[in-house]
């Protein structure tokens, strides 16, 4: 089974619009939205939710004001500054609590509770191009990496059951916990960038991240005609570092038009953008036909 993850480092380069078009063009693919923090793929694909599940992960401390003896030990022990003096004595700020349990374990009065957190919901759905796994982390919540890992596991199991040879994933921006989690076991990272100083800077960092976990990289330059000099330099960067350049997509208002109509851009009448994107997909489909290396980023780290 092949697993393709679309990432970008920088946000807003066009990951989701491109992933939706991949879902349209792919035959026999399982789709998976791994941007669990700010998922947008469902806005284009209008999935019909067949299953809904609670995502519970991690714990949160809470001080029982009646049992608290006001010794303040917890505030001294907390490394995250989460125990604060409030109007009703010592309180845990849920926004700062990491769920480490140190205050709970060392409270001499046993006054601190520790409840499992309901961090979000995840869904198994059907949409017009096939099955889809997606989620919504509740705003302000953590543990996005664990939710990403859960979605990937579900997507693999279900793809196997359905005999689907391909999983296409929309990733999160950045290079932190959810992105690392989304790269685990991927056969190919499709990195979408743009010809701007930010786009280039963030491309190099996310490509380094893929190198760190030995995931092959292929690059798409979106809005390439905004700045031809940067586009040429991205091409050269890819060539010199052995990364496939999948294609250059022009700046085209059709992307926003498709979004407003809740359509994949390739579902609209053909434009130079959608033609170029079809070629990109053909190249993706012909890349990395081999089975993915089942590496876990957490255990196969070539320790830096």
């Amino acid at each position: 089974m092949r697993e393709i993850v679309v990432i970008s480092g920088k946000g807003g380069t066009g990951k989701t619009s491109i992933t939706a078009a991949f879902a349209h063009l792919a035959k026999n693919a399982m789709l998976c939205d791994l941007d669990v923090d700010a998922p947008d793929l469902h806005l284009l694909l209008d999935p019909d939710r067949r299953e809904e599940h609670a995502f519970r992960s991690g714990f949160e401390a809470a001080i029982d004001a009646d049992a608290c003896t006001d010794c303040g030990l917890c505030a001294g022990l907390c490394r995250f500054g989460a125990v604060r003096r409030g109007p009703r004595g010592w309180q845990v700020d849920p926004m700062r609590c990491e769920g480490c349990k140190v205050c709970v374990r060392f409270c001499p009065a046993g006054a601190i509770g520790f409840a499992e957190k309901h961090c979000g919901q995840w869904y198994a759905s059907d949409m017009r191009f096939g099955p889809m796994i997606h989620a919504q982390l509740f705003p302000g919540e953590e543990n996005s990496g664990r939710l990403v890992a859960l979605l990937k596991k579900e997507a693999r199991t279900r793809a196997k059951e359905l005999g689907l040879p391909l999983i296409v994933c929309d990733g999160a921006p950045g290079i932190g916990c959810p992105v690392i989690s989304s790269l685990s076991g991927a056969s190919l990272a499709v990195v979408v960038t743009e010809p701007t100083p930010s786009g280039r800077h963030d491309l190099e960092r996310v490509v380094d991240l893929c190198g760190h976990f030995r995931i092959p990289v292929a690059v798409v330059v979106n809005k390439f005609d905004l700045n031809l000099q940067h586009s040429t330099e991205i091409e050269r960067y890819c060539r010199e570092n052995g990364h496939t350049l999948l294609g250059l997509l022009p700046h085209d208002e059709v992307v926003v038009r498709a979004m407003v109509q809740c359509r994949a851009v390739t579902e609209l009448p053909e434009t130079p953008f959608s033609l170029a994107l079809r070629e990109v997909w053909d190249r993706v489909a012909n890349l990395a036909p081999q089975a993915p290396a089942r590496l876990s980023p957490f255990t196969n780290k070539p320790n830096a």
């Binding site: 500054g81 700062r96 932190g176 380094d208 809005k223 700046h251």
Partner: protein
């Protein structure tokens, strides 16, 4: 006053807005890039860096000769950073959140404090402003610990001037970490279905913090009117609209600060600054009034 420039969706123009505000700001200023995963503000402000230091967090180091394999640390750790496998205690330092629990618990004192590199903290000057940024080490999963260390370097009182924070995208822990110590939150969005959806998430995530919040609508005129409509319904003031134009996008692609490069935008950012400062003042007066 601390002003956080945030957004649910990535690529809506947080850095553009922060860099432009820094260019027109009329008080002493510290400009901070807290998007430590993909910091970009320095690409536009071109600060002269005066210091670059590695940042670390505490993790346990094992003295195997002292360890009796009692497993108390492994049973306690909420992040699976320690595990007893056969006759060894295995440590997974990249899973550690640095809570110090295992160090405090170990009855044999077999665990001692070590450190893991989180990334670097850079300081410098951009024109008359002080500049500060964090840069996460590639491969490091946790950005909040590095963000906390950058925030510890912020000026503590208003005498030292204002702070503009360029925040990471999203609405989960890194974004919340960036905005939670701010006095005012500026939410940058774009008038598209993705922009609206993620803007709603950001409002839901940040509203419980009880801070004054205003919106900046970037690329106005590009998609539809639903973001403006949502702002009206939710009584979120729109502090600025930056019209959609290819010339602004091209200026950004050349690494320019648009408030300087596009003359008609300078006034937009001056007005935005005045509204942000007004919201901060109103909120202090409100607090005094309530006290």
């Amino acid at each position: 006053m601390i002003y956080a420039i945030a957004s649910g969706k990535g690529g809506t123009g947080k850095t553009t807005v922060t860099a432009s505000l820094a260019a027109v700001w009329d008080r002493p200023l510290t400009a901070v890039d807290l998007d430590v995963e993909e910091p970009n503000l320095h690409l536009f402000l071109n600060p002269e860096m005066t210091a670059e230091e590695p940042a670390y967090m505490e993790i346990p180091v094992l003295d195997a000769a002292r360890c009796t394999l009692c497993g108390e640390c492994a049973a306690f750790c909420q992040f699976k950073a320690l595990s007893v496998m056969g006759a060894t205690l295995l440590l997974f330092p990249e899973m550690c959140h640095g809570c110090g629990g295992c160090l405090a618990l170990c009855p044999e004192k077999a665990l001692t404090p070590g450190r893991r590199e989180l990334g670097h903290i850079l300081q410098g000057r951009a024109g008359s402003a002080r500049f500060l940024m964090g840069r996460l080490r590639v491969g490091e999963a946790m950005s909040p610990p590095l963000m906390r260390q950058v925030k510890a370097l912020l000026p503590r009182n208003d005498e030292a001037g204002d702070v503009l924070i360029d925040s990471p995208p999203g609405v989960s822990c890194p974004a919340v970490n960036a905005v939670m110590d701010a006095d005012v939150i500026v939410l940058v969005t774009e008038p598209t279905p993705f922009g609206l959806h993620d803007f709603k998430l950001a409002v839901e995530a940040f509203r419980p913090l009880g801070k004054p919040m205003g919106a900046v609508i970037n690329r106005a005129g590009m998609g539809d009117e639903r973001v403006q409509q949502f702002c009206r319904e939710e009584e979120i003031p729109v502090w600025a609209e930056i019209p959609f134009s290819r010339s602004v996008a091209e200026s950004y692609s050349r690494g320019e600060v648009v408030a300087r490069a596009v003359p008609e935008l300078r006034g937009v950012f001056l007005a935005l600054m005045a509204r942000m400062q007004g919201a901060a003042t109103a909120s202090i007066q409100g607090e005094v009034h309530h006290a």
